[in-house]
Symmetry: C2
Subunit: 656 residues, 2 copies
């Protein structure tokens, strides 16, 4: 088809072809990557970025920008080309470093690497689902802050997704939720190219996508994705419908322009090769120059800088008039923008009752709620059980955008992605809760939060065989270990109400590290020092009870810390008891402190009602659970499965 | 509504009420559980079990039985009541032990605990998705073995699912796949009761379920689920349509019969309480007796024994006539039934080339394929990359049921559940492949395989930063640790072609333990002893290279074993090198052997391009990766991130 391209191409067509050229050159130079998607999706991206997307390349963090999510993250060069061309701090040299160690242009987009990238994408479905969270945050903040004639929060959330995204379960959960919540300012362009890695999409995917999305409550539009006018019209129509999210099925040709690879799976995931690059450039009317970006094209795209500056200036002006008209709201708004949690943290109470840590967590949520704007929590149909409800917050819904509790339905994976989206959005803080066992259902979103350095808060309750009769399908064993192994995830398992307050303090104050709170179903006695604004648990680990010249150290977390204390009481050895609720925080302390708590050379026993996997780092003997649990009352489980003070005593003896 | 129940109830109504009575009594006695679902779903279950389900209570493993999956596993008492009443080896005393330690009636169904339970359910969506695998196995085996007038493989796969099941992403993946594959003998009753734990379903779930399932290619029927005649008619219609799977939307009333709790979320997850139990029994016309099961009701249900015996006898007769008409096929069929893998294992080749272990795995798959009936593999749109294709096996599809490679689409979670279903079905063996990073997307299915003691084979490739340029979103770090922590999962990370053969041998011969193969993207030199029918790697760990009186032990797995060898060459210390591809197998060896390989007291260094989490069990110093990876060529990553022979040498020195 390229052969029929007119010789005198319209400037916008030349713009699009420059994007294609940059993409194929970068992939060719890196000798790896995905050229086909940018080549096919360049027209729709061009239409969106030049005619609709409101953003400011000079301030990628401008709060009221439209969000753009490239859910099909393998097409990263499309995004990098647009960022470069529209004037973000991403140079042509950066593009030439595509997929090289330490560059700003990694293989899949990463928000921590590249200005203008909203989130890390690549694991399919995450982009779509995180975008839902961003749209939730926008709708909520608009309801909270906007006043007639003062739409200070007012933007769209756009994305480009692939068939791979839409096949993933997480995206189906998220799209069902978005339809239910009627997130009308969420707009996805579906790069409908009929090609997957394995071959034609119909090898595995023959559902009626339009009918399905209509069933989910979406507006579905369709167009020729290679025609920027058609895409433009669909985007206009999508924006006009604020009652329903919109999916635009944009029919595209993967690898467009490549004479021998267009419309085949060969175009998807490998360089075109030098010969085909040459032929493709010929077909697209591009010169052979690598990384060709002529001034007229750059100039055309750089209009975004002017437009963005005007847009942001207008918003700043609006904001200052807002501050005059609504001074209190403006203060709250700026605090939310700054992520100021000081008042919230100051409100954390001293909770000395015998309570389940999940209940203690609920107390903390409700204590901080009045002091946190944009605090949006929810549960996956266990909202009450996991204690994430803000009692005075109302329910966020299609008809009540000011509500702060979200009923996510039985959609754990999409929930935690939405939590990430809410938190990434800014001026909002997302948290979500489910049983710890179901952390398995949402682990990719938890990991992505850690990779994105986003301080999401994941509430995981019913954290052991203590959950009792629901049995081994519902009892976590290896989940804590699996979560602890994730880099930059703060897994915090408090032992009582005081440590739960400390956990929430750390979680709220975190700027770059997500927190997974690991909470008990069953009530736990209060055994640690009173939380009064601070607590030693914030160090990750500390000596709870000491003796002179300890012969043995007993280290535990959560509900088993009481067993360590009881064992110390029972045994004849001089035993120190250490509380270690957070390995990550403990390992951030200096070596001297760590050694002062867990001295080398003193025999150490760990106790935790979970897999002993990983505890070899701190202890030489372990009381734990290296098998599946059982359906029985929780106390029976502890006894029958050998998680007892007596077992701790025996383990200590075995070391000496 | 219970007040309007006629005084002289029809026998079948009395039968249904007896199920309800058993469920509420068991939950009341256990003081925990889910009475509402059995009370509402008893009529549809009754209709299915007495009028359609072909099964033999005296032989729960009869091969040609219809499969029944209670995907809504929290309604376990419905299943237990039916198993008891129809004559399975599950006594009234067993029902009285509901949710007690070690009983045959755990809180959620477990195939390993209870005769007649096909799989463990409870984690929502797993039942639906595993059932899809069972239906795939049936369709495939029927195509392979059936001959005109000899339908030796011919059964339906039934299930009961809840709205919670259908909200889960995994189920949406599975249902999309089932529609695509036109699995016409898959029939699900949807217990459409409008209630979830959080309250009314419309709090979170307002999609048009009928329209959606039609879009997925299903037949959708609807009826009053409280009317057994209506359910019966739908089941008949569902069975008649063998072109499409069927969803029967059966409108039910949760907690039916309970005057004060019916149709509320209070009926879902807690005992009714003594008073309400009494009122409910009155309303249902039941006496107050606990665990009431009168002879006429038991007798009615026990007809299943006679019917089942007749059905199985008829099948055995068919099978013996089949053996006369098709003796070769009959031999193959019986081998498949027995799970005989001896010929397949004997066909595993000696592969001494420098190859990626993913490629070596592909060689093994194709070597054993001709010797394994029902060997059904597939990939999640990376089918070629993960080397799961049986080159002469064809593609399993709606039009080619004899095909052995399944294109699962980008649906990792449903894929691995289907792998479990294929394997649980019997006479078939399922395996599925994706990148190791995406083990996170399917972990709940992997865990369930381990809990169900099902020898599924999970192929996870691209196992480290060695995958290179795709970057940290695609590079596993903590995944190996997370998988190793799962009880009863054999995580096997071979170092070369020889160990890959050993891995497949162990995986194929396993009867009760699933295997996760962890395979490299990049080519690896051949460094371990030749596989010639056996290999020391089958012990999990072994001495690869020894010295007299080792001063240090270097232990590694997979692609890093070569670094341990190189380090041993480079260092001045006397170093033993240990290959440890499978911790699970190694820990199944006796203490003497383990000590002979990894002696206590000798400083030990681990090397693995993954999180060091867990390695404290075996080593005191570690070369590994406790951060996210990077987008760069694989060899650059190893160098820049410090996974090198030099680092191993330095770590060894640090210990001395």
């Amino acid at each position: 088809m390229a052969a029929s391209a007119p010789p005198d191409l319209h400037l916008e067509t030349r713009c699009i072809n420059v994007i294609r050229g940059l993409a194929i050159d970068a992939v060719q130079k890196a000798n790896s990557g995905h050229p086909g998607m940018p080549m096919g999706a360049a027209p729709m991206a061009h239409a969106l970025w030049t005619r609709h997307l409101r953003h400011n390349p000079r301030n990628p963090k401008w709060f009221n920008r439209d969000r753009f999510i490239l859910s099909a993250g393998h097409g990263s060069m499309l995004l990098y080309a647009l960022l470069h061309l529209t004037g973000y701090d991403l140079s042509l040299n950066d593009l030439k470093q595509f997929r090289q160690f330490g560059s700003r242009t990694p293989g899949h987009p990463e928000n921590v690497a590249t200005p203008g990238v909203e989130m890390a994408t690549g694991p399919l479905g995450q982009g779509v689902s995180t975008a839902v969270g961003m749209a939730i945050a926008e709708a909520h903040l608009a309801a909270v802050f906007n006043r007639p004639d003062f739409p200070i929060v007012d933007h769209y959330t756009y994305g480009i997704c692939s068939d791979g995204d839409l096949m993933e379960g997480i995206a189906q959960e998220a799209c069902s939720l978005a339809g239910h919540l009627r997130l009308g300012k969420l707009i996805f362009l579906y790069d409908d190219n009929n090609i997957t890695i394995d071959g034609r999409t119909d090898l595995a995917y023959t559902e009626d996508v339009t009918k399905k999305f209509e069933a989910l409550g979406w507006q579905v539009l369709a167009c020729d994705g290679m025609d920027i006018e058609a895409v433009d019209r669909c985007l206009t129509e999508a924006k006009a419908n604020t009652e329903r999210p919109t999916l635009i099925r944009a029919r595209t040709i993967i690898g467009f322009g490549s004479p021998n690879r267009a419309d085949t799976s060969k175009a998807h995931g490998e360089p075109l090769g030098a010969d085909e690059v040459r032929l493709t450039k010929q077909a697209l009317g591009l010169p052979e120059d690598e990384f060709y970006a002529p001034d007229e094209v750059v100039g055309y795209y750089r209009g975004a800088i002017t437009d963005g500056g005007v847009a942001e200036s207008g918003w700043i002006d609006l904001l200052s008039r807002y501050a005059q008209a609504f001074p209190d709201e403006a203060v709250r708004f700026h605090k939310a923008l700054a992520g100021d949690v000081s008042e919230a943290v100051a409100a954390l109470p001293t909770l000395s009752d015998k309570v389940a840590t999940r209940a203690a967590s609920g107390v903390m949520v409700n204590a901080v709620a009045p002091h946190l704007t944009g605090f949006l929590g929810g549960g996956a149909d266990l909202t009450g059980n996991v204690n994430v409800v803000q009692k005075d917050g109302g329910v966020f819904s299609a008809t009540n955008r000011a509500g702060r509790t979200i009923h996510y339905g039985v959609r754990e994976h999409a929930m935690m992605a939405a939590v990430n989206g809410i938190t990434l959005h800014g001026a909002a803080r997302g948290f979500g809760g489910t049983f710890l066992i179901f952390s398995d259902y949402c682990k990719p979103s938890v990991r992505l939060a850690a990779l994105m350095e986003t301080p999401s808060i994941f509430v995981f309750t019913h954290d052991s065989i203590g959950l009792g009769e629901d049995g081994p399908t519902h009892q976590p064993v290896e989940q804590i270990a699996g979560l602890r192994a994730i880099p930059n995830l703060n897994v915090f398992r408090p032992a009582d109400g005081h440590e739960t307050a400390a956990a929430w303090k750390v979680a709220l104050e975190s700027k770059h590290t997500p927190t997974a709170l690991i909470l008990s179903r069953q009530a736990l006695p209060c055994i640690t020092p009173a939380f009064e604004g601070s607590h030693p648990a914030e160090l990750g680990g500390y000596i709870l009870r000491d003796v002179e010249n300890p012969e043995v150290v007993l280290v535990g977390s959560g509900s088993e810390l009481q067993l360590a204390l009881a064992a110390a009481d029972q045994m004849e050895l001089r035993a120190r008891v250490v509380s270690l609720p957070s390995w990550l925080l403990f390992e951030r302390q200096d070596a001297e402190y760590r050694e002062s708590v867990l001295p080398k050379g003193v025999p150490t026993v760990s106790v935790e009602a979970a897999s002993t996997f990983g505890w070899g780092r701190y202890a030489q003997a372990h009381v734990g659970l290296d098998r599946f649990g059982a359906s029985a009352p929780g106390d029976v489980n502890f006894r029958e499965l050998g998680i007892t003070a007596e077992a701790v005593v025996a383990a200590a003896k075995s070391l000496l």
